[in-house]
């Protein structure tokens, strides 16, 4: 058989490649894996630990169900090291954990199912005892959501679980807002929302605002800081506000406001009812507005507001400040709620109003003593 030089070269090259490949494959024999370098049994709870009951509750209700790590023994590396922070007290951590389950996770689970929370719920909740106060601005932060997976709740040590109002305003509100933030970090919300109050956000000054901010279409002063916050705040306030709180906010939204000597006012009088005299504004403070006597008709409609002047035994008529800001605050808030409602339904398949009802029912039935038994009752 005649073999050309070229073929010899091919054959030799092929043999060379085969030899090299064989050597490279065989040269490093597969070593049997040794034991894991990580200690076994780290996730097994120690029944002799003083925190066993709480750890078991967290494992059974958060870790095993939602793959959620509830960090109550604050490792400072988990928090922003630029802040000076302290851990939560054990007792308050327990109170907040059972409250989170009852008013947040169970409420969402009841409407959207556990799968929803497994997929979109946070993976980490970090409790911090103190506020996070910026040493530069001296402004506090009460909650943070990061990367769609982690929620940090601050100021846990100031929490009084028996005070429903405080819990609602300072903690449940934060929980729902930060969860709304996580949801919007997962699925974008309609850009139409950003157009409702465009041009009226005050990122640098929102802390200096008060109830009058509602007349510009915001549910809270924090909502006026930027549109993404506005979106989360609108949802949170809609869910956790009582009917009275929501109505008060809408009332403020419907008012005209006048800034007099750096104080916002929604009422004014003419001294001695003399319209030739200079208008005197009534500061929007509880003490000042409580002096106003409201007269209603049989249907409850307000027919007159006045202040009784004890010195002259006369009624001084109180007038509403004209709403001259050109913004229909109530309509703006309604529109934002509509967008949020639609987004919840279309993006998440959740009925926002049903969620609101569920949370409210739970707030009504909220009993911290009973909830604590979820932890302290563990044998």
């Amino acid at each position: 058989m005649y073999i050309t030089m070229k073929k010899i070269q091919y054959i030799f090259t092929a043999l060379l490649v085969a030899a090299v490949t064989a050597m490279s494959l065989s040269s490093c024999g597969e070593e049997k894996l040794g034991p894991s370098i990580f200690p076994e049994g780290d996730d097994v709870l120690d029944p002799t630990s003083t925190t066993y009951q709480f750890d078991k509750f967290l494992k059974d209700n958060f870790l095993d169900v939602y793959n959620l790590t509830f960090l109550y023994k604050m490792p400072d590396v988990s928090a922003n090291m630029n802040y000076n922070l302290v851990p939560a007290t054990y007792s308050n951590a327990v109170d907040l954990a059972v409250s989170c389950k009852y008013l947040w996770f169970d409420a969402y689970a009841a409407l959207a199912g556990q799968e929803f929370l497994k997929n979109y719920g946070p993976r980490i909740i970090l409790l911090v005892g103190s506020q996070a106060i910026s040493s530069a601005t001296r402004e506090p932060v009460d909650g943070l959501s990061e990367g769609g997976v982690k929620i940090t709740l601050f100021n846990v040590n100031k929490m009084d679980a028996s005070d429903k109002v405080q819990m609602n305003e300072n903690y449940f509100h934060t929980m729902h807002r930060e969860f709304a933030n996580i949801l919007r970090q997962n699925r974008t919300y309609p850009t139409e929302f950003n157009t409702v109050s465009v041009g009226h956000y005050v990122p640098a000054e929102w802390r200096e605002r008060g109830d009058e901010i509602s007349s510009e279409g915001f549910v809270s002063r924090y909502a006026s800081s930027e549109n993404s916050v506005d979106f989360a705040e609108t949802i949170a306030c809609y869910i956790v506000f009582t009917d009275q709180q929501w109505q008060d906010m809408l009332d403020f939204a419907a008012c005209g406001w006048h800034k007099d000597k750096n104080v916002y006012c929604r009422y004014y009088i003419y001294p001695d009812n003399d319209m030739s005299k200079e208008i005197k504004y009534i500061p929007h403070t509880e003490a000042e507005e409580n002096k106003i006597i409201v007269v209603r008709d049989a249907d409850g409609f307000i027919i007159q507001r006045y202040i009784y002047d004890g010195a002259t035994h006369t009624r001084i008529n109180v007038y509403d400040v004209e709403d001259e800001d050109g913004i229909d605050g109530v309509a703006a808030i309604d529109r934002k709620v509509q967008i949020a409602r639609q987004w919840f339904r279309e993006a998440w398949g959740i009925d926002l109003d049903a969620l609101r009802e569920e949370v409210r029912n739970r707030q009504e039935a909220y009993n911290i003593e009973e909830l604590r038994q979820l932890v302290y009752g563990i044998q």
Binding site: P39, S49, V86, A88
Partner: protein
């Protein structure tokens, strides 16, 4: 062809050798075990160290570089709890909004974790310990504290509650605050130590009036082995100003915080102090309280913290020393004569004016530019000072010899009214007296005892 075969063969050999050497991945083992296992073992080892023998430790805690150190007695239990006991003004403020030092003790959690090397963390809030780590504004004492106020909002004391475990040696654990990097130590305490008793005792050494350092003296001294003195000011505050004697105070002052301990005191950092010449440098940090109240360096056993000699303290132009001659404040002739003087001044029937001797004072009288013994007689809220000026010498160590020179204000009147007063002045002017004090570092009480007759003494209080 041959050339090709040669090149190919060489390539084959070269590649083979490369591949063969690549399998030689065995390395010398520096450590016997994997890093994670070693870390876990080290954590377990520290947990054992902390909880063994009763688990009781003294933590010399520093929140920052401008506050005193604070003693905390910690009792570590295996179930993850720790009893944290302290005794300081911040605890007392939390408890009842007053500013005296107070004891507080509370249970919280601890753990040894491995997030940044070996870390001891106190990971649940303890009211009496984490107060140094909260970002809340530090409360001000009467609105005058420079340490607190609104400017500290967001910062607080800036104290750590997590500590890198650096070393364990001789029942001492060396720690470094994880965030602010201050070095601290924990030393083991006997397991039968009662937290409150122990801390009350240390607090008594910390009292600014009667403790190791007093705020009543203008200054004390760090006396170096070569005799060089560094002036010490504000030591009673726990934040000491020091500068070399004779140097410009403003330009050369240093500030150091320190902690008062059961056996003495320790600076947070090592002091490097220059002696009489630049080549003489002394490094000191811990001092032991001696029987005479002074503090002696643990490092060189020579550097001493002490006050002026008692004679110089008594005759300091800015101090005022008083006695009422009563109870333990006088003995022998001093108490006898004081009682007789009062009897004589009180008895109007024998020429007295109805006054009583209320107290006596040794001080510098600016208007007379000299030292004076002032006997204050009082009646119906009015005081009649009888002033007797004197000069003094110190014939020997801690001795005083007074020479009376003149009389001012009511001096002549009471001298003529009270024969016993004449005797007292004769006693004081004719004798040499020995000076002594329970503490030579904080001599707020100086006893003047007649040489040769120790029954006759008077105690002067600053």
């Amino acid at each position: 062809m041959k050339k090709f075969l040669n090149i190919s063969l060489m390539a084959l050999v070269a590649l083979s050798s490369l591949l063969l050497t690549s399998c030689l991945h065995e390395m010398d083992e520096v450590f016997d075990e994997d890093a994670v296992i070693r870390m876990n073992n080290a954590m377990a080892e520290y947990e054992d160290i902390l909880t063994s023998n009763g688990g009781k430790w003294l933590l010399e805690y520093y929140a920052n570089t401008s506050e005193p150190g604070y003693n905390y007695v910690l009792t570590f239990a295996k179930d993850g709890t720790v009893v944290m006991s302290g005794h300081n003004k911040w605890i007392q403020y939390i408890k009842n909004k007053t500013w005296t030092s107070g004891f507080g003790s509370e249970v919280s959690m601890w753990d040894v974790i491995g997030d940044n090397g070996l870390v001891l963390t106190f990971n649940s809030y303890n009211n009496y310990f984490h107060l140094f780590s909260t970002p809340d504004a530090v409360p001000t004492q009467g609105g005058t504290s420079t340490a607190g106020g609104a400017s500290t909002a967001g910062k607080g004391h800036e104290g750590d509650y997590e500590f890198n475990l650096m070393k364990y040696s001789g029942d001492t654990i060396y720690l470094t605050g994880k965030k602010y990097n201050l070095h601290m130590i924990m030393t083991r305490l006997p397991q039968n130590t009662d937290d409150e008793t122990y801390l009350n005792q240390v607090a008594s050494y910390n009292n600014t009036n009667t403790g190791m350092f007093t705020s009543k003296l203008n200054n004390v001294y760090i006396v170096l082995p070569d005799g060089k003195r560094w002036i010490v000011k504000s030591a009673a505050s726990g934040y000491m100003q020091i500068y070399p004697e004779g140097a410009d105070e403003v330009m050369t002052s240093e500030y150091h915080n320190f902690i008062i301990t059961m056996d003495g005191m320790a600076f947070r950092d090592v002091l490097t102090l220059e002696g009489n010449t630049p080549d003489l440098v002394y490094r000191v940090q811990r001092f032991v309280r001696q029987a005479d109240g002074t503090a002696l360096s643990v490092e060189d056993h020579q550097t001493l913290i002490t006050a002026d000699a008692l004679f110089d303290c008594l005759l300091n132009t800015t101090y005022s020393w008083t006695t009422n001659f009563k109870n333990d404040a006088a003995g022998g002739l001093f108490s006898t004569l004081a009682a007789q003087i009062t009897a004589e001044s009180k008895k109007t029937s024998t020429g007295g004016d109805g006054t009583s001797l209320s107290n006596a004072k040794i001080s510098y009288v600016d208007s007379l530019s000299t030292f004076a013994l002032t006997l204050n007689f009082s009646k119906s809220g009015r005081t009649f000072p009888a002033i007797y000026t004197f000069t003094a010498t110190s014939p020997g160590n801690n001795q005083i010899k007074m020479t009376f020179e003149g009389m001012y204000n009511y001096g002549a009147r009471y001298k003529s009214m009270c024969p016993s007063l004449v005797t007292l002045l004769d006693l004081m002017g004719s004798s040499t007296f020995e000076l002594s004090s329970p503490s030579l570092l904080s001599p707020v009480k100086i006893t003047m005892t007649q040489s040769g007759d120790p029954a006759n003494f008077v105690v002067w209080s600053l």
